[in-house]
Every structure is written in C-alpha cells, then in structure tokens.
C-alpha cells in the first residue's frame, strides 16, 4: 500500500502548497531541479533486461549498465548529449507530429489543469504544457533559429544532465492518456511527446525495470509475467474449476494453439493470472461457451497488452507482430481482442501500419449474428465489447440481469479506447443490458473527458505508490461522487491495467468500491445451459437475496 496514509494524503492534496492549492512557486521552472528519492521514481531497468532487448533491437536501449537515479552519476555514455540530439533530429525527421507539437504551442494553458498528474500533485511540471516544454526547450536550443540566436530569451536551454533528470522524472509521470490533447486548440498530444522523450531516454540507457522486464517476458514467453506455456494453460484451466463451482457448468471450449479455429482470441495476459482480471476472463469463457464460438487462445501470442509501446516504436512493433504471425500460423479467419486499454491503442492505431497487411485474414463476421464488422475491414481485429454489443443487440444471449443486482455499477472509460479509438457506447450498451443499476460518473470525467487510472504506461509499480494515488485522485474522486450519490459499489472498465490499478486506487480512496471488467458482469448474467441455481457471482460474492 501507499507510503502515505490516506487520512494524511487527504490533507496534503488540499493544503500542501502547490499550484493546485494556489501557492505561487518561488523559482522559475527551469531553476527547479528534479530530485530523486525513494518513492518518486520507478526503479531503473536491470542490466540483464537491457542486454536482452539490445540483442533483439541493437542500439535502441543504450549501453546496459547499473545506475542509480538518486546518484549524480548515471554512468551515461560520454557522448550522451550527442546521442540524444541526434536521436531528436532523427525523430523530427520521422514524425511530423513532433515538429508541429514543438513549434505550435502558444502556452494558452488550456491543458494545464486537465492532467490527472497535475491535479493530484500540483507540480507545475505536470502541466502538459510544461512537460512538453522540457523537451521543447532543448529542441529550440538546437533546432530553431530563434533559439540559436536568442537562447534563453526564446525559451531555449542546452541539453544538460539537469534536463535529463527532469525528463526521467516527468516523462515517467505521464501516462500517455491524451486528455490534454482533447482540450488543446492545436491538438498537441503529450502522449506523443512522452513517447518521443522516452525513446530518447532509452537511447542513453535510461529506462525502468517495470516496463523492460515485462516487455522482455512478453517477447520470450508471450505474457508479461513470464509464465511458460504449460503454466499459462494451467492457470487458465484452473479458472474452469472456479466457474464450475459458481455456475455448476463445466466449460469444454477452452483450448490453446489450435489450428483451424475460426477466431484467435487475444487477451491482456493479466486476465489469466491476476484478480480481478481472472473474473473478466471467466466472463469471456462463459460467453464463448454460451454462443458456441469456434475460437482458440495462443500461448505464444497471449499478451495483447503491449509494454513495448511504453518504450520505443520498434519494440512496440516487435511485440505486436506476434499477433498477426500467430493468426497466420493457426490459419484463423479473424482476431478478437479482450478488454485492454493500451493494447487497443496499439491494435487500433498502430498494428496494421506496423505489421499489416493482414491479407491472410478475412473481414470479421460474427458467426452468430452475421454482422460484418466493416470498421475493422483491414485490421481484421475487433474488440470483445463490439462483438458482445452486437450479440446483445440481436438478442442472441440469454440473460438474467438480476444476478448483478448486488452491484451498483459505474463505468470508467479507459483512456485509450476513449481517446485513441472512440469506443464509448459499446461497453455502456453491454452494462445496461446486464445490470439493473448503472450510473454514470460526472460528465467531465467520462467518455472523451475520462480521467486516467493514474498508473498507465508502465507506472503501476509499487515503488511509486504515493504518486499513483495522487495521479489517480481525479478518477477516484469521481467514483467517490457516485458512490456517495448512488451507492455505487462496482467500478467497471475495459482495461487490464485499470483492473490492477483501480483496485489499488479504490482500496486507498474508496474502499467500498470494487473493480471489475465489463465481461465479468456479462458472465454473471449469462444463463448457461445446465447451470445450477446461482447463489454467488463469479467472484463468490452472494447474489442479491442470497446473502443469508
């Protein structure tokens, strides 16, 4: 749990002098140094992890070494500034977005109080505009005429170790949630800026272990925990016992790496081994059994969540490449994806470009309703919520909504499905179909305005709990609002990171509210053939009226 007790934190966020509480900073932002101490940084990547990635993608992750963020010597390569500036030039040449976002900001400040990290910490450098200025100032110094001529007057500063420290601090206090980009009059997307800055940091070997290790695991074993195929299968099959216990039905359809299946199902692998994701996984399995879907899960490509996307576009591509490769090997017709946020950012906006064309697949057609998903005509991969919403719309599912009556549900739009995909109504349609009690959080905190869980992009690590609880405050606060107003006791979402992080967040801020995937609630409501009278839901909580 977090280092600061919640009672203290409640005081701190309101009273502690910060930009959020009206205090005026004494120093200009470029004079404030980033100071690392236990609790405010993610641990650096282990040497062995960098070595592993360097073997696969030479030059991307810098020289493997041990280093300590708290020290003033990070054992950087001698020419590290040159590496960064060359890397910046390379990225300016490759990404128009970067050039535009570097040049166009007018510092109107519309983004300032839109960032959950800023709202929770009041740290000026967590205003998206300043976060970008950390990179922009270096860009101006070396790549613009005004910066070269006027220097500091033009807002330029040379790339120094001090700047590097700021980068490592603040580009790891951004979850690439894109909320700022909704409000920016030029659409400047700090996610894009953070991606570039993290790539640059990696070039000089500055990265975090909580990202590089899962990424290495995903690459080698197919899931981020590094489970070997038999363990992965056992874990999944173990859940069948739980399903049998709560529903009385033994599912037969779960299978792995089966050639000739119609559909490859790709999940965020956490759904197989971590609560509450496992309940979401049960929901998937119940649904597939219910409709008799011809699907398979691959142990090789069992991680849809893409840790590479938190590091470097080439690692994102490399990890993502497995999905199409496996779909081709197994000879499936199309791909179905589970509930996961960043996974879907990659699948929706990057996969086809990086690893397509998927000309060996067919445009997804629901075998049950016959609906052709033309919105995935080229990528050939659809979201489980799209698939389920379609089934519900055609009344293909037998449901008993009352089995979720013990839940008063709200829905957290995950950043990426909301702002990098536009999937807002599908999960809501499912929730309204399977729950009797559904309440929206305030409108400034949902849909395209949704607040991040506070721990995305590889920040859901234990060593920065205080930061995470602060960054998650805007989300937690909106949950608090509906919990008080409507008695909401279940926060549903379509993201594996959310299922892990919102759990910790609610335990901290809203201990009366649990977290679930949308498919879990669906699983509760599905009337299975041959089922027993249900007394509990999938997580063995008594149903309404069964509490006795």
């Amino acid at each position: 749990m977090a280092d600061t007790k919640v009672a203290q934190m409640k005081e701190k966020v309101v009273k502690e002098p910060s930009l959020m509480t009206g205090a005026v900073p004494a120093k200009d932002w470029w004079d404030v140094e980033a100071v690392f101490k236990q609790g405010n940084y993610c641990y650096p990547a282990k040497k062995s992890m960098v070595e592993y990635h360097n073997k696969n993608l030479p030059g991307v992750f810098g020289v493997p070494r041990d280093w300590d963020p708290e020290s003033d010597n990070w054992n950087l390569p001698e020419n590290w500034q040159e590496i960064i500036l060359n890397g910046l030039k390379d990225r300016l040449d490759k990404f128009r977005s970067l050039k535009i976002f570097m040049d166009c900001c007018v510092r109107c400040g519309a983004c300032a109080d839109k960032c959950h990290f800023f709202l929770g910490t009041g740290d000026p450098k967590n205003m998206p505009v300043l976060r970008a200025e950390l990179l922009r100032s270096v860009y101006r110094n070396d790549f613009t005429l005004a910066g070269k001529l006027l220097g500091k007057m033009a807002g330029a500063r040379p790339m120094t170790f001090k700047v590097l420290k700021e980068w490592f601090m603040y580009f790891y206090q951004c979850t690439e949630c894109r909320r700022c980009s909704v409000f920016c009059p030029y659409g400047i997307d700090t996610a894009e800026v953070t991606m570039m800055a993290r790539e640059l940091l990696h070039l000089v070997g500055v990265g975090t272990n909580w990202i590089l290790e899962p990424a290495a695991n995903s690459n080698r074993t197919g899931n981020h925990l590094g489970l070997q195929p038999h363990t992965f299968k056992e874990n999944a099959e173990f859940l069948l016992d739980d399903i049998e216990e709560s529903t009385g039905v033994r599912l037969n359809s779960l299978n792995f790496n089966r050639k000739g299946a119609e559909i490859l199902f790709v999940i965020p692998s956490a759904d197989v081994f971590a609560e509450p994701g496992i309940f979401t996984f049960m929901g998937y399995l119940l649904l597939f059994e219910h409709i008799g879907l011809d699907y398979t899960i691959s142990t090789y490509a069992s991680e849809g969540g893409n840790f590479g996307s938190f590091t470097h576009n080439s690692l994102m591509k490399k990890l993502n490449g497995k999905i199409y490769a496996e779909a081709k090997r197994l000879g499936v017709k199309w791909i179905l994806g589970g509930e996961c946020g960043h996974m879907w950012r990659v699948l929706h906006q990057y996969m086809d470009t990086m690893n397509g064309p998927a000309d060996f697949l067919q445009v997804p057609v629901s075998p049950i309703t016959g609906t052709r998903f033309d919105n995935a005509a080229t990528t050939k991969m659809i979201h489980i919520s799209e698939f389920t919403a379609d089934l519900l719309h055609h009344n293909k599912l037998k449901l008993d909504k009352s089995r979720n009556d013990h839940r008063i549900v709200t829905f957290h739009d995950s950043c990426n499905p909301a702002r990098g995909m536009g999937m807002l109504e599908e999960p809501r349609h499912i929730l309204k179909s399977v729950c009797n009690n559904f309440h929206e959080m305030p409108e400034n905190t949902i849909r395209e305005n949704t607040f991040c869980c506070g721990s995305g992009t590889g920040l859901n690590t234990g060593e920065i709990m205080d930061l995470r609880m602060r960054a998650g405050l805007p989300r937690a606060n909106a949950v608090r609002h509906v919990a008080d107003k409507h008695g909401v006791n279940m926060l549903s979402c379509v993201c594996a990171i959310d299922r892990a992080t919102l759990l910790a967040l609610n335990q901290y801020w809203n201990p009366d509210v649990e977290v679930c995937g949308v498919s879990e609630l669906l699983g509760n409501a599905l009337i299975m053939e041959g089922e027993k009278e249900r007394e509990t839901d999938l997580r063995f909580a008594p149903l309404a009226g069964m509490e006795g």
Partner: protein
C-alpha cells in the same frame, strides 16, 4: 524579467522607428524597403516552415477521438468529433479553425476540502481568443482599402459594418476596441493566473506587446494624431502595385511607427509560436480520419526487418512443456530411444 524584457524590446522598436522616421532616407527605409523585406520574410518563412513540416511523414494514424467512433450501424457516431470520413474531418477542422472547438471544451478544476475536485465551465479564454482572432482578421481585411483601388465592395461593407454605431468622426470601429480589450484580457490572464504566469515565456509576451503596439499606434493614427490618408494610400497602393512613390513628407511620424511594428511582426512570425496559424491545419491528432482499422495507413519508414520473436524459437524453447501440457506443437519431441524399444516390445 519575463515581462519586462519583451516590453523593453517592443519599446526599443518604437524608438527605433521614431528615430528612423525623422529623415526622408529613414522614411523610405521604413516605408518602402522594410515592408518589402518583411513581407518576403513572412511569406518565405511561412512557406519554408510548412515545407519543413511536410518533409516529415505522418507515420501513424493518431487522431484524438473525442466522441463515439464509427462502429455498429445502430450506434450513433459522433461524426464531427470522431470522424470516419474525409467530409467528417473537414467538418472537424472547420469547427476547430473557425470556432475553436477544442478551446470551447475548456474547464477549470478546483481542489476543495474533502478532497473534492470540482470542474467548472470556463469559456472566457475561448471567447476572448475568438474575439481577438476575428477582430484581427476584420482589421486586416479593412486595411485592404489602402492596398486596392477600386476598393472591393466586401471591404467597404466590412468597414461600414464595423462602424455601424456611427460614434465620432472619423467613425469609430468596434473591432478596434474589442481587439484592444481582448488583447488586454489575454495579457492580464497571463499575468494574473498563477498557472499561466508560471508557464509564460518572453516569447509569449513579446507578440502580445508587439500587437498591442500595432493596435495602439493604429488607433492613435486614426483618432488622435490623424494622418493624411490620401498620402498614405498613395504609398501603400504603390507598395502593393510594386511601384512605390517617392515619400513626400506629408505622412505623419506615427504612421512609420505603425508600419515598422507591423514589419517586425511579419518578420517575427515564421520563427515563432505564431506559426500555429499554419500548424492548426496540420496537427495529426485533428486532421486525420479515425479509420485506422478500415483503411491501412502506410508508414514510409516502417522497418520490415523488425520481426516478432518467432514462433519456431518459442516452440524450440518450450516444446517439452507444451507437449507435456497437451498444447499442440509443430514439431514433435525427438523420439526417446528407451520408449521406442519399449514400444517394440509391446508389439
């Protein structure tokens, strides 16, 4: 420092113009040579900056989706905030460019006891930004009367409309007052809001002061110090037709300060944040169609050499476990000699 140095810079420009306007040589420099130079730098600078931007590809399709996407036919799409067609993107861009759609979403967050975060509507930035830009546009278009002959009817109409309250002589233009008011708002906002003051750079104040200087000298010229418009039009029309006349000395000094500041703005423009004028059209999060699963987007530098960790090496590493767990494999385990023997015996 952040405020004073750009203020001093603008005052220095004013002073420079005042000095230059004292002699006929200086007047010709400020009134003829500098405008041509500034206009050339402005056009060349803007074009080269845009060309520079467009020399970088847009490798990925990354629109920020601000509404429901095109999905199942019975789900209502938000066609403007999450467009799936070219027409939709054009609509989105028009809203963005003409009405500042994104800025209209602005809210203000406050932290209260509890803790409780409260988000209030905050439309003033939107309103004043819109007023500032539209007044600027009207003022620029009104100035066309000095660069064209005969004067196009829309310019005359604009002028008539702008002065419809018929206050004072010469007729007072509403846009002048609104423009100054909006500028004052944008400036005061920067100075008074802690957040905004903290993020503001000299490069934010400089254009504000410069534009204020232009507006004030313009207003002085029209309403207070008054200049011979006919003489000025002779010069400006001459500039526009590439046949500048000799400056006769009938033009007031204030005119030279005004045009000098305008030239400074034109020269400064391409090297500054003012390039958002062009950038707003080219922002990939706004001007792209959200159809990345429908139509394949090509990244010109996509590296086909980056391959996923292959299934073959995965199976090689874990084959034994996979076979043991009844997971199908491509290649069976090498037959165990002992088992082979046993099988033979069984036969």
């Amino acid at each position: 420092m952040r405020i004073m140095s750009p203020l001093i810079a603008v005052l220095a420009l004013v002073l420079l113009a005042l000095v230059a306007a004292q002699g006929p040589g200086g007047q010709a420099l400020v009134g003829i040579i500098l405008p041509y130079l500034a206009f050339a730098v402005f056009l060349g600078g803007v074009v080269s900056r845009v060309v520079n931007w467009s020399s970088s590809p847009v490798p990925f399709r990354i629109p920020t989706t601000c509404g429901q996407a095109n999905s199942l036919p019975w789900i209502k799409q938000n066609k403007l905030d999450c467009p799936s067609t070219k027409a939709g993107v054009i609509g989105r861009m028009l809203l963005e460019v003409l009405l500042f759609r994104s800025l209209f979403r602005n809210t203000k967050a406050e932290m209260h006891e509890g803790p409780k975060l409260v988000y209030g509507s905050s439309k003033f930035l939107w309103l004043f930004a819109l007023l500032f830009h539209y007044c600027f546009l009207v003022i620029i278009l009104r100035h066309l009367r000095l660069f064209m002959d005969p004067i196009p009817s829309f310019v005359a109409a604009l002028e008539f409309g702008d002065g419809f309250m018929q206050i004072g002589l010469p007729v007072f233009y509403q846009t002048d007052a609104i423009f100054l008011g909006a500028l004052a708002f944008l400036f005061l906002r920067r100075v008074m809001l802690t957040n905004i003051r903290y993020i503001s750079l000299p490069a934010d104040y400089f254009p504000l002061f410069l534009i204020m200087g232009i507006a004030i000298t313009g207003i002085l010229m029209r309403y207070f110090l008054r200049v011979d418009v006919v003489a000025i039009k002779q010069l400006t029309l001459g500039l526009a037709t590439l046949s500048p006349p000799a400056i006769t000395g009938q033009i007031g000094t204030i005119f030279f300060v005004h045009i000098f500041l305008v030239c400074a703005l034109l020269i400064y423009f391409p090297f500054s944040k003012l390039m958002h004028l062009a950038g707003v059209f080219m922002s990939p999060t706004r001007n792209m169609i959200n159809n990345s699963r429908m139509v394949r987007h090509i990244n010109p530098w996509n590296d086909p050499k980056i391959k996923p960790h292959s299934y073959a090496s995965y199976e090689d590493e874990f084959r034994e476990f996979m076979v043991g767990a009844d997971i199908p494999v491509e290649k069976e385990l090498p037959a165990q000699p002992a088992e082979e023997d046993a099988a033979k015996v069984a036969e």
